[in-house]
Structures are given as structure tokens and as C-alpha cells.
């Protein structure tokens, strides 16, 4: 079953040339999909279109067989959750307050969060092993923890699709791997994860499928192991990269080695 289906999608900012140029793809339920491409290739714009933050000039986006445009903002938020790039909140909200925001799509006219919402937020933090951060100011926890808190909020939204914009950018190596592992675990529970990344090896480690974007067009899409090749990476980034396949503890692992 498709969790997301994009058909003939095009978008441009004002009268400028197309940032997204007639692209189509489908994403299965419970898969991890990486969107790769050089800077300015349209990765973030594509995510914003999927989230409904931008209005496409042409094309259709369907979420679980329902057109995105036919869903209200709250209905969208119940199906699609957004994990933004590493950022700092302007005000030092407590972690629990940030996570409880995940219940907003289910709130009434005045957007109130109840005691029950806070209990659910605390339970979600506990489930993600982040209970100890609950009362800490969000601004004062590490970048990796902030991203996990954002994922926690997204999970409280009970959305079946997580949209992550460069989730590991700015994180140290340990936090990067911890986050990628968490995404794999989430996909095993049936949650679809769509992320943009600048790291092909991250796609190799975590993603079932990958999409390569260049100048707003899909240059390749399919099973990650099949499409991430040295030639494809050269085509995309104009650098020589070798894909090394190895086996550790009976599982096959591929990684990228730049040839400098």
C-alpha cells in the first residue's frame, strides 16, 4: 500500500524557473526513503510541498489515497508530521511543552492542551528514553536530543508519515547514528520516514528506497542498494566515490569511500 503518491508535481517560486519539475513517485507504508541531491536541487521544496506548506503549480499529492488538498490543516497534521532541521526555539520552553505541541492537531478552537495531553507527552518521552529531559529547557539540551524531542513530538501527533529535513545536520557522529537507528526502528512499527540528506552512506544504512534529485528533476529512484552507485554519485555531486560492500555479523553493509 502507498502511504504517499506524488504525480506530475511542479513548482516554482514566483516567475523563476521550476524548482520541482514534473516529478512522480510512490512510497510504501513503513519504508524509509532518502531524498538526495546537491544544494539547490529542490529537496527541501519537495518536502514543503508534501507537507502542504507550499502550493504546487501542477500535480497531485495523495496521502493514503486521499488528495492532500482535500484535507484540512488539522487532518494533514494527523497524517504527516514534520521534523525540521536542527533549530533552537527562541524561548526556553520545557521539553515536555514542546512534545505536548504534538497534540495540537487534536485540540479545539483555542488550541488548549489538557492534563491528559501532558500525561501522553510524558509517556512518549519515557518510551523514547527521554524522560529525564522532560523538565529541561529545550534550548539547553544537545542537538541530538533536540532532534529526538522533535521526533517524539511527531510521534505524539500519531502521524503515519514522518517528514525529516536533514535530520542529522549539525549533529556529532554518535548522535547521527543514534538518530538513524531510531528511524529504522520506527519504520519497523509501520511509520513511513521520508528524509532529505547530504550523506549517501546514511541512505545506504537506513533507507529502503532513495530518490536522487537534480535541478528539480528525479534523476534516479528505486531501491537504495541498486541506485546508489559510484557513477550515480559522480553524476549527482561531480566527485569520485566508491561504494564498498562488506559483511559484519552476517549482515551486509554498504558505505561510501571518496576517492580523492
Amino acid at each position: 500500500m502507498d502511504s504517499l503518491k506524488v504525480t506530475d508535481l511542479s513548482f516554482s517560486y514566483g516567475n523563476e524557473s521550476k524548482v520541482i519539475d514534473n516529478i512522480s513517485f510512490k512510497i510504501d507504508v513503513g519504508s524509509v526513503v532518502s531524498i538526495l541531491g546537491p544544494n539547490g536541487s529542490g529537496k527541501t521544496t519537495l518536502l514543503k510541498l508534501i507537507l502542504g506548506l507550499l502550493e504546487p503549480q501542477a500535480g497531485i499529492i495523495e496521502v493514503f489515497q486521499t488528495k492532500l488538498t482535500s484535507l484540512s490543516l488539522k487532518e494533514r497534521a494527523k497524517k504527516l508530521a514534520y521534523v525540521p532541521q536542527k533549530h533552537k526555539a527562541v524561548f526556553a520552553y520545557k521539553v515536555i511543552d514542546i512534545v505536548a505541541m504534538g497534540k495540537l492537531p487534536y485540540s479545539g478552537v483555542f488550541c488548549t492542551t489538557s492534563q491528559k495531553d501532558y500525561i501522553e507527552a510524558a509517556e512518549m518521552l519515557d518510551k523514547m528514553n527521554l524522560k529525564h529531559l522532560s523538565e529541561r529547557p529545550y534550548n539547553e539540551i544537545s542537538g541530538g536530543e533536540q532532534q529526538l524531542v522533535m521526533i517524539c513530538r511527531a510521534l505524539l501527533q500519531r502521524a503515519e508519515i514522518l517528514i525529516l529535513d536533514e535530520p542529522v545536520t549539525g549533529l556529532d557522529y554518535g548522535n547521527q547514528l543514534m538518530l538513524l537507528k531510531k528511524l529504522k526502528e520506527l519504520s519497523q512499527t509501520g511509520i513511513t520516514c521520508i528524509m532529505t540528506t547530504h550523506y549517501p552512506e546514511h541512505a545506504l544504512w537506513t533507507s529502503d528506497h532513495s530518490i536522487f534529485l537534480k535541478k528539480g528533476k528525479i534523476v534516479a529512484g528505486g531501491k537504495t542498494d541498486n541506485i546508489i552507485t559510484g557513477e550515480m554519485l559522480y553524476k549527482l555531486y561531480n566527485v569520485n566515490i566508491k561504494i564498498i560492500k562488506t559483511s559484519i555479523n552476517e549482515s551486509n553493509i554498504s558505505t561510501c569511500v571518496p576517492v580523492i
Binding site: G14, L51, K78, Y82, P84, A89, A92, N139
Partner: protein, 337 residues
Amino acid sequence: MTKRKFYFIISGMIVVLFIGAYLSIHIGSVKIPYSATLKAFFNNSGGNETSELAMFETIINEIRLPRVLAAILCGAALSVSGAAYQSMFMNPLVSPALLGVLAGAAFGASLGMILSPTMLAAQIGAFVFGILAVVAALFLSGFFPGNRLVMLIMGGVISSTLFTSLLSVVKYIADTKNELPTIVYWLMGGFSSVTMPVIKICGPILIIGITFIILFSNYLNVLSMGDEEASSLGVNVSKIRNILIIATTLCCSLTVSIGGMISWVGLMIPHISRMIVGHNNKFLILFSALLGSLYLLIVDTLCRGLFTAEIPIGIVTSIIGIPFFIFVIVNTNNRWN
């Protein structure tokens, strides 16, 4: 902070505010005995009062009570507007003046003063031009492509500058013997000219505006995380922001109509409130409203009680505001981004 603790603090503040208001009524150039106040409030004399009691009644009902109510309402309005603007525009240094409401209202009031000798013209002018300045900022922001929030601020800067320039024009053409001193004194802020009819007209609108901001305070947390995040959480950002801008604009233009330019309250009170109840707007807005009321009530009482001649309230709020703001910056522990 737990809800129970918060509402305990709020209840305490309401009690303190009532006591403060009661005490404030007795302070001024004419000393009023406490017994006279209750009689005046409940009109127990029924027209058979002594001449002294009648005088106290007049002072209380026509002078002291309106200005106490004005201080309470304006303090709450400016504080909740400031707190709302800081969250809405994701900037802890923002005050309600951001979109030009105060500049517009100052121009409107001064224009009213040179066109008509009555204060009513100045009050209506302040209200109308305060709203017009924000409408101009919103209209101008629509011309610029790009980030909506940044463009709103740009529109506000243009509108503020325009109305500040127009205010200078009005000052320049004003009669230097009467009109100019009146304009300058008005711009310093004060509740000395507040009457009960003004409170009866402006009070309900202010209460509605403040209530709206309090009711929508939960949206402010998510708006302060940025438009994209708020939208992705199912919030109609432009609709909610416009509702809040309308409510804050109504509140701020009315405060200028009632008491002239009272600076720093909208910036200072939300920061003190953040230090006490934290950043969650669910608690912050209501707390700011009460703290702002209490603050302006105390300052106004000092302004008329400290010396024989009344000090304009805007001067006092600025004098207190500047060192306080330095204290706030020093004590934020780099928590602002």
C-alpha cells in the same frame, strides 16, 4: 509550574490587585478616609451626604476610580500585547509598537488636539490612526515577496517611520503656546484626564481584546516556533496571527487614547513574567495581564502621590524600564536565540 500552583499565584495577584486599587483610591492631593470610600462605592449616602462626603464621592467616582481602572486596564492591555508580539514575531525584544500602532496613535492624538480643543478628538484620533498605522503596515507588507514575518516587520518599520514623521509635521505646525505643550505633555503619558465615560466606552473593548489574547495564548507557543512548524501542527498561521494582531492593535490604540504614550510596559512586564512563570504562554499571558495591571497601578499611584505636582507616567515607566531591561539582559543566561 503546576496548574494548581499557577492558579494559586493568580488568585493571590487578583486579591493584591483589589487591595492595591482600594488603597490607590485614597492617595492623592486630597486625603480620603477609608470609611468614605465604601460609602461612595455603594452610594450609601443616598443624596443626604454632608458636603465633605459629597466631595469625596465626586473625587472617587469622577477622578480616582476612572484612573485606577484606566491604569489596571492599560497595564494589562500593554503587557499582554507585548507578550503576544514577542511570541508571534519570535523576538524577545519586540514591543507592541512593532507594527506602528503607537506611532499612528500618537499622530492621531496630536492631530485631534490641533483640530479640536476637546480631548475627545484626540482620543478618537489616537484610536483611529493607531489602527490605520497597523493596517498600513499589513498592506505594505503584502507588496514584498519573501518571508511573511520579516515582511510584516518591514511594513511596521515603514508605517512607524511614516507616522512619526507626520507627528513631527503636526508638532511643527502646532501653535507653540497651547497646542504644542499639550501634544508634548500627552505624549509623556498619564491618566489625569481620564473620565468615567471614557472608561465606560473603552473599558469593555479593552476587556474583550485582552480576553481574546488570553484565549488565544496557547497558539503563541507554536507560533513562536516558526510558521512552518506551526502549519505542520495544523495551525492556520495567518488567520491566528491576524486575529491576534487585531486584538493587540485594538488594545494598544485604546491605551494611547486613554493614557497617551506609556512606554516600556509592553516590553518589561512580559520579561518579568517569564522569570516568574516561565515561557509557556498558557501561563505567561494571564500572569502578564495581572502583573501589568499591578505595575501600572503602582506607578500611577506614585506619579500622583509622590509630589504635589503629578509626574507624567510615561517618564516614570521609561526611567524604571531602562535599568530593569539591562538587568533582564544580564540575567537571561544566553537563553534568547
